[in-house]
């Protein structure tokens, strides 16, 4: 690993200034579970590493049923699944946070870091998209909001410009008859990178039999995590049945454009999108019904 400068700012403005005026390549450090490995293996370079864990906003987790969840970008995964109300309000998010690496990783790694690493297979990203999260980005020119599905632009790349950092991820308040779920396929039971994954959110009408709104996201099957817009729109107004879920799975497959690699073939991954979409919808509906 080549040597680099290190800074640990305590405010967003200071962090943004450091990032904007760095000589050479600046990298943001949250839990470090991706960055440190990448630096060691020369997959990313850094002249300056900016540790953002001392910025209060980035370590803040606040939730009320009325306001929803505000998740600081550096909050480690364990704080999500150990938070009973957050886990109940956003089960897809808790499910994903619980399978990012193992326990040791989850005590360091953050959802914000997972998003900013922008891996096509990032486990927490499908839930963010399905749950309709919005990302607060702070930079030299002020603050802007970016929808979760717009955040990643290509493998390892995202919308952050020079001097910008992700401060908070904002989740809408949980819907009354809402539910969500995340599932991935890996070749073993734990500690692996998704071959394909899906996250679904649904809101049911008062009868509990019809889907009022839905959002489906799929990951590890395209250069970036994908919002399955057509499937999501099509679901609105449909009966909450296995047939509906299966058809939504077929529609979700349309936005998958996976590659064949050592972890899985193109065909297998597309097939999995159908299965996982169907399964997460079924689980989300079950949860929505309470």
């Amino acid at each position: 690993m080549k040597s680099f400068d290190y800074a640990a700012p305590t405010s967003l403005a200071e962090a943004s200034a450091l990032l904007a005026h760095a000589n050479g390549q600046a990298r943001i450090l949250a839990g470090g579970t991706d960055l440190l490995v990448q630096l060691r293996e020369h997959l990313r370079e850094a002249d300056l590493v900016v540790d953002v864990k001392r910025i209060p906003e980035l370590m803040e987790l606040s939730f009320t049923p009325e306001q929803g969840l505000r998740l600081g970008a550096s909050v480690p995964c364990y704080r999500i699944y150990e938070h009973a109300e957050v886990s109940a309000a956003y089960p897809a998010l808790a499910e994903a946070a619980r399978i990012v690496g193992g326990w040791q990783i989850q005590s360091r790694a953050s959802v914000g870091g997972n998003l900013c690493n922008s891996s096509p297979a990032g486990d927490t990203i499908a839930p963010l998209i399905a749950l309709g999260a919005s990302c607060t980005v702070v930079g030299p020119e002020g603050t802007r909001q970016v929808a979760a599905e717009e955040f990643c632009v290509s493998p390892g790349k995202n919308v952050l410009r020079r001097g910008e950092l992700l401060s908070t991820i904002v989740f809408p308040p949980p819907a009354k008859s809402g539910g969500s779920a995340y599932e991935r396929f890996i070749p073993r039971n734990e500690m692996d990178i998704a071959v394909a994954a899906a996250g679904s959110w649904v809101e049911l009408d008062p009868s509990g039999k019809t889907i009022k709104n839905a959002r489906v996201a799929i990951t590890a099957v395209a250069p970036t995590p994908r919002f399955a817009a057509e499937a999501s729109q099509w679901l609105a107004g449909k009966p909450a049945t296995e047939e509906t879920f299966a058809q939504a799975g077929e529609l979700a497959k349309k936005v998958a454009s996976p590659i064949t690699d050592m972890r899985g073939t193109q065909e297998f991954r597309v097939h999995l999108v159908g299965v996982l979409t169907k399964r997460t919808l079924a689980k989300a509906v079950e949860r929505a019904r309470g």
């Binding site: 396929f185 070749p187 073993r188 039971n189 734990e190 500690m191 692996d192 990178i193 296995e242 050592m262 972890r263 899985g264 073939t265 297998f268 097939h271 999995l272 299965v275």
Partner: protein, 759 residues
């Protein structure tokens, strides 16, 4: 993971510590991080060694170019031209050079070595070497290698051919009612020991000292002496605490020890070589991939009349241990069945893959996968219950194996089989799964897509080295009385996590008739210990442990004779040891010699292939998600007759670990090769089971002490890794109605096969 029962049926009362789970000798040191592995040795004045490798699988080596812009005086460089002795890694056939001289035969073959004071300088130097290679056509496929258009080894690219004949299988097959022919294939497998390969060498006034991660100190004595042109007495080898081996530290350490020794010899200072995980995954040995063809002839009633078996192992670019792996494969290939007409033809084939080597089971897991999967197919063809088919053919007392070995009374194949059926509830569960699989067709929700199956395998594993191997090594152990009244057990068996230090202390204590705490298991050091043989072949507890018992009994007699004590209480006996040891050397040695009733003809492969056999039956129950092809193993039951359980906890640990390793081989561990290079050479991409993937494992031990061993304890280390793969294939046969003849059976294999079946 849980082992809910350790059963002793006919527990031999040996008194003392034998058969009890005494504390692990090095356990506390490991828990506290105090155990010293090779990379924990002090770093002062130690240079680091690295390897320049060929980047094509087959080539003529034209030149090695050193960038003139680099200051080469900062480092030490070794090429084949610098080797003072013979450029060879001696294992069996001596075909592998330590450093490539005029040809390279696998991607990553070492071409030159560099040592430097620090990692940065080493890396800079390694980056400034160019190897000039003129590529030749490589061969990776067994059939292409056998066509011998690309010459790699001898006239036919065959390292060894073995033929075993009993009766005339060919003739019987012509008249059999039913003949079943199928081909089975198994993939390579990585050992994934926790500690990668590592060695340190240091020149001394009289020669050289090598220490590191290894299973076989005396292999390294031989290798380093040949390479440096020294007498074996000038080479001292000390095994450090070794972080796992599984066979991967049997043959390979001879190569890396030689490299560290060459660098240290030239640099005249200590040099350490430690592979990182990627280097280790790419360039060290793997389990031999195998292709095995069975032709078996049956009577309509399900009597096994004839077996014709062809075995081909992909040995990689150099022979290493392939000749012996092939031999174990051949001798085990016909399994624990009574069949009077057998023909086995086996070949180890040279290819341009990295050399394959020893791996837990040593050729036996491959042939057991083939045979036990084949038994399932044969039962289906004959329309018979596979349980009944095995009952009708299992070897019984005074039966003869493929080599003509008469197993006498020491055969528990039928007993482990029946016991496993009972312990696993096999028949009832099989019926229940048939029922639930039928009901799934009309079920709603996830159950609709679940299928379940239970399968088994019956197999055996020969204790110790092949044929007369043990007789040739003539292992020697020493017990030495110490001034404090303790007794040192001096061997060169290595603690690789299996509990050697503890077990050998237990066995010595048993022979001596003293508390286990009074025995010191000395660390393996060739300056202190004569050759007690390699730490391989499930031989440590059985063979070396047996010798320690004999040595212990002699030692006791000697002390009693010289001190006049008889049946003294332990404290008086200890005082006598202390007194005699201060007066002069108080020692007892024991040597292995072939039991007089054991016969083996290496030329014809007739006779006693092994000293003794451990018999086992493994049952696997599993559930398949037919939408994704995922397999969830529900539980595993392993019943084995090990003769005598020395340490119940370690014995159960061997079973649990072996089962987990074999489930990985059967279901997950795909090695992806491209142009002779392992492409998934990271722990991210080479998928092994985690704790979450290991099902409850029930280990049941039967104890029929073997008369050829003083304590009756047969080998256990390798056996548990041999049954699960075919049991998985047989369970999948029930779950899906599909015969899988090739492993690993990954979701991407299962899914299309299931979909094809639905059409």
């Amino acid at each position: 993971m849980s082992t809910d029962q350790v059963t002793s049926l006919t527990g031999v009362n040996t008194g003392g510590a034998l058969g009890t789970s005494v504390p692990r000798r090095e356990g506390a040191a490991k828990l506290c991080g105090e155990a010293r592995f090779v990379d924990d040795l002090p770093r002062q004045n130690v240079w680091l060694g690295g390897t320049v490798r060929a980047d094509v699988p087959h080539a003529r080596l034209l030149a090695i170019r050193f960038d003139p812009c680099f200051d080469w005086s900062r480092v030490v460089v070794v090429t084949a031209a610098d080797i003072p002795g013979e450029n060879v890694v001696p294992v069996v056939l001596r075909d592998q050079p330590s450093l490539a001289e005029s040809f390279v035969r696998y991607h990553g073959e070492p071409v030159a070595l560099i040592a430097a004071a620090d990692e940065e300088t080493l890396q800079q130097a390694l980056d400034r070497v160019d190897v000039d290679l003129s590529p030749l056509e490589p061969v990776f496929d067994i059939d292409e290698a056998l066509a011998a258009k690309v010459p790699l080894f001898g006239p036919e690219n065959v390292f060894r051919t073995i033929t075993i004949r009993k009766g005339d299988a060919g003739e019987t097959l012509q008249t059999a009612d039913v003949v079943v022919e199928e081909v089975y294939e198994t993939g390579a497998q990585e050992h994934v020991y926790l500690e990668p390969q590592g060695m340190q060498a240091e020149p001394t006034a009289s020669g050289i000292t090598v220490c590191g991660s290894m299973q076989c100190p005396y292999y390294i004595v031989e290798g380093v002496a040949l390479l440096l042109g020294l007498a074996q007495e000038q080479v001292r080898v000390i095994a450090c605490m070794t972080g796992g081996g599984f066979g991967g530290k049997e043959d390979f350490p001879t190569l890396i020890a030689g490299h560290a020794a060459l660098l240290a010899w030239k640099a005249r200072r200590p040099v350490r070589m430690i592979y990182d995980r990627v280097e280790d995954l790419r360039y060290t040995s793997k389990r031999h991939p195998a292709r095995i063809r069975h032709r078996s002839g049956w009577s309509r009633a399900g009597r096994l009349l004839a077996m014709q078996i062809e075995i081909e192992l992909d040995g990689g670019a150099y022979s290493t241990l392939s000749p012996l792996v092939l031999q174990r494969a051949a001798v085990h290939a016909a399994g624990p069945y009574q069949c009077d007409q057998i023909e086995i033809n086996a070949r180890a084939v040279a290819t341009n893959h990295p050399p394959r080597g020893a791996f837990r089971g040593f050729g036996a897991p491959q042939v057991h996968f083939a045979l036990e999967t084949h038994m399932g197919s044969c039962a289906a063809r004959l329309g018979l219950d596979p349980v009944e088919l095995r009952r009708r053919n299992v070897i019984g007392p005074r039966g003869t194996l493929a080599t003509g070995q008469n197993v006498g009374e020491d055969v528990a194949a039928a007993e482990v089989f029946e016991r496993a059926l009972v312990e696993s509830g096999f028949l009832a569960r099989r019926a229940a799964y048939d029922d639930s699989n039928r009901r799934a067709l009309s079920a709603a929700g996830p159950e609709r897509f679940k299928r379940r199956g239970i399968g088994l395998s019956l197999f055996m594993h020969g204790t110790g080295m092949n044929g007369d191997g043990e007789g040739l090594v003539r292992s020697e152990v020493l017990l030495r009385g110490n001034a404090d009244g303790t007794v040192s057990a001096v061997t060169c068996q290595v603690e690789i996590g299996q509990g050697t230090q503890t077990i050998l202390a237990q066995l010595a204590a048993d022979g001596l008739g003293i508390p286990v705490e009074w025995v010191v298991a000395e660390k393996p050091d060739t300056a202190m210990a004569r050759d007690s043989g390699p730490t391989v072949a499930s031989r440590t507890a059985a063979i070396v442990g047996g010798l320690l018992i004999s040595a212990g009994r002699q030692f006791r007699e000697e002390v009693e004779r010289r001190s006049g004590l008889c049946k003294a209480d332990p404290d008086a006996f200890r005082s006598a040891i202390a007194r005699l040891a201060t007066e002069g050397p108080l020692e007892s040695r024991a040597y292995y010699s072939r039991p007089p009733d054991m016969q083996w003809d290496e030329a014809t492969h007739r006779g006693d292939g092994y000293l003794a056999y451990t018999w086992s039956c493994c049952v696997v129950a599993l559930e398949v998600d037919t939408l994704t092809g995922e397999v969830k193993v529900l539980d595993v039951t392993a019943v084995q007759d090990v003769g005598k359980v020395v340490h119940p906890l370690f014995a159960a640990g061997q079973v649990e670990g072996g089962v987990a390793q074999a489930l990985g081989w059967a279901l997950m561990e795909e090695t992806v090769w491209a142009d002779g290079l392992l492409r998934n050479a990271t722990m991210t991409d080479y998928v092994i089971p985690t704790a979450c993937d290991v099902p409850p494992i029930r280990a049941v031990f039967l104890e029929h002490p073997h008369p050829r061993l003083p304590h009756g304890a047969k080998g256990l280390g390798e056996l548990p890794a041999e049954g699960p793969a075919p049991a998985v294939a047989n369970a999948l046969r029930q779950a899906l109605g599909i015969h899988f003849n090739r492993i690993p059976i990954t979701p991407e294999i299962i899914l299309p096969a299931w979909e094809d079946r639905q059409q």
